[in-house]
Chain length 660, copies 2
């Protein structure tokens, strides 16, 4: 356990750029060997040899059309008026070896792909011929070589077809086959063991006790390796226990080339991975933390010429380091010459201040506008897993920068293909019925909903990043919903409000209302804990409006008032999260949708009908999916049918704006 403390040189954190050089000092990042495989099994493998064509392609002079093989000097001047008559000598089908020698005045019927016989130099298409008994009339002359694909004209024997290091795709399998090549040399795949480590980690399918979490990293890393064609063994979850881990890894060192763990690397309370990696053999730990955030507690060890990588325990940190370091490293070991994940440039929507001396990795949502892509940071909590579904990749903010200016370009490493980005971006308030409309219109697959509250939606429309912004903002001066904000945001000329529907909002409380909550005044009670919505959401604005009225009536300061409310700062992003918090006893009450209370089987005290409308840029009104959405919204039968399912919680307005 001792030695490591003396190797001071490794105690500094290492940059992403340096880490490959450091590892290469101890472990050559190159293929472990070569094996011979059949081309049927070669898909996605990396070629370990240059391939030269062993034969010509086509392997013989062949006809490119159905017609008659002729000598061009026999038919000089042939045209519609002056056909030339030739004697048909026979017929050649594809695959036949022509046992025919064509003399002057003769022709041979020939099929596409069939071998050209000796004596002819061109083929007349069947369209320009007429057969009569054993003669053919030719209505067009040819030049030598016409309609003949000559031997080796496509690929010549000896041509370099493909360089080693190429990933074998289906096209190359086809070409290899066409050249008669049955076996190729490819680089061997390393044998890889994957572990998740931590007393708190439980495998899915097992019950979850208090304080425990389900494993993410083991499945994530294993699947990520499978994705690049490897066959890793996920060996399960191990506790933060030195002896157990030592025993398992010592055994694995005999069977595997690479061992990847996650968790147990924190400098905090449990650094078991660090100690085990270092004690297993020489030289032990060679990378002792990275200058990235998140991802710092990453360790790399070399033991008996095997590579051991300890990834951070938090899933996002784990995955980013996996992408940034592990995949390229293993890429070199399987011989990939270009192993980068897809990266694009995107602009940041606002100024970001960061620490100097660290590379920052932040999951983002990409929104495309006429000006290119904008990368919206979605989460800075490395313990979260929702960014895996809701973000498109992560942006990489360089080590040597402390401020990223608004609109400046940053690099984004993609989680998925650009083509799979949503076609319709709805940014703003979230709603239950809205989901239903999208699902029923077959728009759900194509849509991304970013629930960042009504105000966020207005901002996103202003920046032209949202196609549609759902909004239910109450103007406190006029007590009118949404409309007054067109002017306040300076969007009167640029955007339009499409009438949506009314939705019933109120206080959600526990089933049977055990604490006897009657109205918002009860939120001030000592024995009540509320759950609140995030700033900028229409629901938060509405609650604050109610609380301000109370403050006014009571003659006390608004800030004083809210400081008395337990849970005022317990903020969640959605209506369902409000209901969930109450359902699970984390709060006694919160403002939310009636329909959500009903779905969660909670009690509901109605407060008001919110007007839920849709803000849309003029220029987007004609965009296909926007148009479909508006059509559905205006289809009263369609809407009534949906609303019928949620009787009492939603209502439609007629064209003059009144409820119907």
């Amino acid at each position: 356990m001792g030695g490591i403390l003396d190797r001071k040189i490794f105690h500094r954190l290492i940059s992403v750029d340096e880490v490959f050089d450091v590892v290469e000092k101890y472990y050559p990042l190159k293929p472990l060997g070569i094996e011979r495989v059949s081309i049927e099994d070669a898909l996605n493998r990396v070629l370990a040899q240059d391939v030269y064509a062993p034969i010509d392609h086509p392997p013989f002079d062949r006809s490119m059309v159905d017609g008659y093989a002729v000598r061009s000097d026999d038919i000089v001047g042939a045209d519609e008026l002056n056909p030339v008559k030739l004697v048909v000598k026979g017929k050649i089908e594809p695959g036949q070896k022509p046992g025919i020698n064509v003399d002057r005045g003769e022709a041979v019927e020939i099929a596409t792909g069939a071998m050209i016989p000796r004596g002819v130099d061109s083929v007349v298409m069947v369209e320009y011929t007429r057969i009569e008994d054993s003669n053919v009339y030719i209505y067009r002359s040819t030049v030598p070589g016409e309609n003949i694909s000559t031997t080796g004209s496509d690929i010549s024997s000896g041509d370099l077809v493909v360089l080693k290091g190429t990933i074998i795709d289906e096209n190359l399998v086809g070409v290899l086959s066409g050249l008669g090549i049955k076996y190729v040399n490819v680089y061997v795949k390393p044998r890889i063991a994957v572990y998740s480590i931590g007393d708190e980690v439980v495998e899915p399918g097992k019950p979850l006790e208090d304080g425990k979490v389900y494993d993410v990293n083991g499945y994530l890393v294993t699947s990520g390796l499978k994705k690049i064609g490897l066959d890793p063994d996920f060996k399960g979850v191990l506790p933060d226990n030195y002896d157990i881990l030592y025993r398992e890894l010592e055994k694995d060192l005999r069977e595997y080339d690479i061992i990847i763990t996650s968790g147990g690397t924190s400098a905090g309370l449990g650094d078991v991975v660090y100690r085990v990696f270092n004690d297993l053999g020489e030289p032990g730990i060679i990378v002792h933390g990275l200058k990235i955030k998140p991802g710092k507690p990453t360790v790399i060890a070399i033991v008996n010429n095997k590579l051991l990588i300890g990834l951070p325990g938090f899933p996002l940190s784990c995955y980013m380091v996996f992408n940034l370091i592990v995949k390229p490293m293993i890429g070199r070991i399987i011989g990939l010459t270009n192993n980068d994940s897809e990266k694009i440039k995107a602009k940041v929507p606002y100024r970001i201040k960061k620490q100097l001396g660290k590379t920052w990795l932040i999951p983002v949502t990409l929104i495309e506008s006429r000006k290119g892509y904008t990368a919206y940071p979605v989460s800075l909590e490395s313990g979260s897993i929702s960014p895996f579904i809701y973000s498109d990749g992560y942006m990489i903010l360089p080590e040597n920068r402390d401020v990223i200016l608004e609109n400046s370009l940053v690099e984004v490493q993609l989680f998925r293909r650009l083509e799979d980005l949503p076609k319709l971006n709805i940014i703003g308030s979230n709603d239950y019925l809205l989901y239903e409309i999208l699902v029923e219109s077959n728009l759900a697959y194509l849509t991304r909903i970013l629930s960042i509250g009504s105000s966020g939606g207005w901002e996103a429309i202003k920046r032209e990043e949202a196609d549609i912004a759902p909004t239910h903002l109450l103007d406190e001066e006029t007590l009118v919903y949404n409309k007054p904000f067109l002017e306040k945001y300076g969007l009167s000329d640029k955007a339009v409000l499409i009438r949506g529907y009314g939705r019933l909002i109120g206080i959600i409380v526990e089933k049977n209302n055990p604490k006897n909550i009657r109205d918002v005044r009860d939120f001030l009670r000592e024995d009540i804990v509320i759950v609140n919505r995030t700033k900028g959401s229409g629901t938060r604005v509405y609650l604050d409006y109610l609380l301000k009225r109370i403050a006014l009536e009571e003659g006390i300061d608004f800030n004083k008032l809210i400081s008395r409310i337990n849970g005022y700062y317990y903020e969640v992003k959605t209506h369902t999260a409000v209901a969930s918090a109450i359902k699970h006893g984390r709060a006694d009450a919160g403002i939310g949708l009636g329909i959500v209370a009903k779905i969660y089987d909670l009690n509901f005290i109605p407060l008001t009908w919110e007007e839920y409308d849709f803000l849309i840029l003029h220029e987007r009104l004609e965009k296909e999916h926007v148009r479909i959405f508006i059509e559905r919204l205006r289809d009263h039968d369609f809407m009534n049918n949906l609303i019928g399912k949620y009787k009492g919680y939603y209502k439609l307005y007629n064209d003059t704006g009144y409820p119907i």
Copy 2:
């Protein structure tokens, strides 16, 4: 065999857009069923259910940092000068259920990821604390919720996590795992049989007789299906024989959901697939040719509710129809909602005239410049296979257009990822030593060489599409190589010629020169067949220069002269193709590089030293890979070492332009 002739409605060719609707009339293009798989086996499968979160994530309030869990109202006003002393009540590690209730004046040591105990509302980072005996001094106040990740703040129980129809990637596997979901419903994979059909088709690994070709399509289609996660069975090559094919497919109809064949669909000599498909059962053939070029002879049949697809025999046609029709069709059957291959827009470099009423598919090479991508057509021979390696995709020219104007944008369906496009484009003359330089400089992987002749290279530089254009153009007036063309092409201000090297060119003839060829005059002999290079190549220019001198001396017309040369129009694209033609007896002589003659073990009659230089745009001189290339070229030790290997066939010039 009869019935089909009556179904006149199917005898017309069908557009690409119509084909899905036609098929859907007989065969629903939707999933065949659902199966339950473990998330470990779910990678790349298509989800057949909406997934809702069964638990909250995080599943409990947890600490985001290492530190002390406190009540914020205990430490109001705490700062560097006024620390607050709290009693440490214990320690909570990740995975532990905290059996601690914290009262006023108390704190608990807590690790990142550990569960927050009852009674506290925030965590102070360890950096702002100091421990002394069983007390902790707190140097910073907190707000409620600080450094706590609350239950469900990431994903709330009941949240819709992902819609059915989603392809399960590694990110989603991780999320499912993190939510404790062990099994999911996915769509079943159809069982698919693949055949190649044709008397001329031979499997790789077997000997190739005259008139036969190696199979491409079977391996191509099978690999292409594997690539999208299916497990097709390639059942081998069958002859153009009705009985054999009928017997095999009748058997397969009991075992497989989909049968895909290629070849044997031509309307010409063998339409065996067409007849078998139609005779196997009702309704038989429903698509009887497509309005695309290449790809017309595509047939689709439905038999006993099974889908049968007959693809064209020529590999390029086969693959394009596979991409355009088969993959999307099978995509729907495995439940993919967005199954498009990657497509981009690119401009065409010159006017293309096409047939109205057919969609044209042309393989292209993509070249990126500041103005976006340009799509260079690479081949119009659907029998060729080199486009599978040398092209990046194919452009789709719409049915209803007969002219595509220069610089207009067309759609290109990609064969590979855009990121994998070469970083260095060398367009123009081809050379053996040039390859060596690239390989030895580690540039070969990153480079695309388009061998379109010296003149083509000058044009490509003019259009800013080539980084480097290798050239050996002889100016007939001045007898100077390359330099005079800077002015002729109007590139004096825009590009620069970098001095390359000299290479020995001459007449390549058969081993031991059995026909006793001495100089170019022998090309006029009746008993000699030559192989020529394509127009625009420097070698062609040089041969024509020599022939013009002969014509002048003889006092005859140049065109008259060349009409006497056998094989003058037998044109090939590379030096190796010249050597190959002579080696295989297809020609007696041709102009080519000495080094190539040597490699092919042929005789060589030297004619001249060509000056082989590199034309480079000014603005590209600083591009990384261009810079490396020029550095290598100017590194005399490096170059002499390479040239040494080809003693006598190459030479260097010194800086003043004279040979050294």
